[in-house]
């Protein structure tokens, strides 16, 4: 777990206390919830920008976006996103797939015991 500390004035703290209390939350919970709510759009934009620039991979983009599985895929489609990967990688993985034999991966069936 990471921790962020920052200083605020007594007046600001009092306002946060009132707001948090009104929601039945602690100040920490209130601040954390609101920060992530405020940056939610920015997270999605940043995730797809970095992906587009080839700076991050698919999984990292998903995590940065903060979206759930289906939301992330819908957003991917909406933005016409693409992961930058070299052709040789997909060629090689296809070659591997074509060389695999089912029998090596099958669970032992009860009848064969």
């Amino acid at each position: 777990m990471g921790q962020i500390n920052f200083r605020i004035s007594e007046e600001e703290k009092h306002i946060l206390q009132l707001l948090a209390h009104n929601r039945g939350l602690t100040i920490t919970e209130f601040v954390k919830h609101n920060i992530f709510r405020i940056i939610s759009h920015e997270r999605v934009d940043l995730a797809f920008k970095l992906l587009q620039e080839g700076k991050i991979n698919r999984k990292k983009a998903w995590k940065i976006s903060g979206l759930n599985g289906s939301e992330f895929l819908k957003e991917w489609t909406r933005r016409g996103a693409e992961e930058k990967i070299p052709d040789e990688l997909t060629e090689k993985s296809l070659e591997i797939a074509m060389s695999l034999k089912t029998t090596e991966f099958l669970k032992k069936s009860k009848s064969s015991k």
């Binding site: 693409e82 990967i85 797939a97």
Partner: protein, 168 residues
Amino acid sequence: MVMFFLLDTCALNHIRELYNYKIIDLRHVLKFFRICITQDVLSEWVYYNLDHFFPPTNCYIFPVEDKELEQMIQNFPFFEDFDIADQTLLLSLIQESSVLISDDGALNAAALSINKKAIFLPDFCIFLVNEGFFSKKDVRRAIKFWEKVHRFRLSDLKRWTRTLNQIM
């Protein structure tokens, strides 16, 4: 030789998408195979509710020791860029006779860079056709769907279609 398929979170998310859009349900076939994950991968599945879609009872959970992870990072420092779940998959790939099914390009590239086997979900689907588990028609439908939703690059989808057409 006894081998395992390691299944990553991105690939399972794509498998669920295929199911949600009524394209193809790969779970019935996955259950025939030795599918492996790690505790950290399982935590991601739980976080993204993928454990309800494909219960971990269908999987073997590889134990991962912190010391082994540290050793792996020492040997391959660039693996540190991956999150903990992906790191544990790479470690399992190193330690066990296995093939990684992942839709994360960087993870697959990392696996191949150390001479381990990694494939994308469409590769796995083609393997399933090649081995008689699915018809070409089923997988063509998946490829068309992926094209429609931009899930993979067009050039790769064309390659997969060509290979599919060549299967007797």
